[in-house]
């Protein structure tokens, strides 16, 4: 049976549109984008790199899904993406965060976005 993503992409896109995301480790996302583009002599600022990551995630399609993974007890969805003609390993989770008033809100978190460190083939047959 083919594995399916835990977090619907429509919900992921909606959270980005509503600015409900959180980069907990820029060294695994926007800084990696900056590193890649610095070597291509097309340097990006922090904001440009972050926007690039968000646009990359928003371009995901179901065929980009690779697998679910558990990280620190949390299920994360992993995708493989070709974006701006470059291969990217994409990973994220949707978590519930408690607000100051005690209510809960969903946040897109644990965002990774970097060149793949090993080969992967997505469920749609995209090879990175």
């Amino acid at each position: 049976m083919t594995e399916v993503a835990k977090y619907p992409l429509s919900e992921v896109f909606e959270l980005i549109m509503q600015n409900k995301y959180w980069f907990s480790a820029p060294s695994r996302s926007s800084r990696e984008v900056q590193r890649v583009y610095a070597t291509l002599l097309k340097p990006k600022t922090d904001d440009e790199a972050e926007q690039f990551v968000l646009e990359g995630i928003q371009s995901l399609k179901p065929e980009n899904f690779y697998k679910r993974q558990t990280q620190w007890g949390l299920v994360v969805d992993v995708y493989g993406l070709i974006f701006d003609n470059k291969p990217w390993f994409v990973k994220f989770a949707i978590e519930l965060d408690e607000k100051e008033d005690g209510s809960m809100k969903k946040i897109l978190q644990q965002i990774s976005f970097h060149p793949p460190e090993r080969k992967l083939v997505t469920v749609g047959g995209i090879k990175l």
Binding site: N19, K20, Y21, W22, F23, S24, A25, P26, S27, S30, R31, Q34, A38, P43, K44, T45, D46, D47, A49, E50, Q51
Partner: protein, 143 residues
């Protein structure tokens, strides 16, 4: 992640490591120092980083001009940029690239570097020591 005052280092285009003059209050991991980002934080970091680069560049230029008592035109020629561009980065209305920033930093910190940047520095000695064959070889390559 704790809300704490952070100076970086941050990226800004071709500057891979900028330490802020004024620290920013950001969330950072108390163990590894990794800075977490909420929506809008990247814009704030960019603004602070660019402001630091502009302020330091203006300071470098003022140091050089005060120490060497040279005109902006002379300094622009030494760095290889137009006087208009130098004026823009001196007044903080433009942001230099990393190479221009770094040349100005070196010229500001090191008086002998300014002397070396003179196009006539040691040129007579270099010409005298240059084997005449290599000069002709270089000319042939240009032809």
């Amino acid at each position: 992640m704790l809300l704490t005052m952070v100076r970086g280092p941050f990226w800004w285009k071709d500057f891979a490591s900028v330490t802020l003059i004024e620290p920013l209050e950001l969330l950072a991991c108390s163990n590894c120092g990794e800075i977490g980002r909420q929506p809008g934080d990247a814009k704030i970091v960019d603004r602070a980083t660019e402001a630091t680069i502009r302020a330091l560049t203006g300071m470098f230029i003022e140091n050089i001009i005060a120490r060497e008592k040279c005109s902006q035109l002379v300094l622009a020629k030494r760095v290889g940029i137009t006087p208009e561009y130098l004026s823009g980065i001196k007044t903080g209305t433009r942001t230099p690239g990393f190479q221009t920033y770094n040349i100005l930093k070196i010229l500001s910190e090191n008086a002998s570097a300014f002397k070396i940047s003179d196009p006539q520095f040691h040129i007579d000695k270099i010409i005298a020591e240059l084997p005449i064959e290599s000069y002709h070889q270089a000319l042939k390559k240009l032809a």
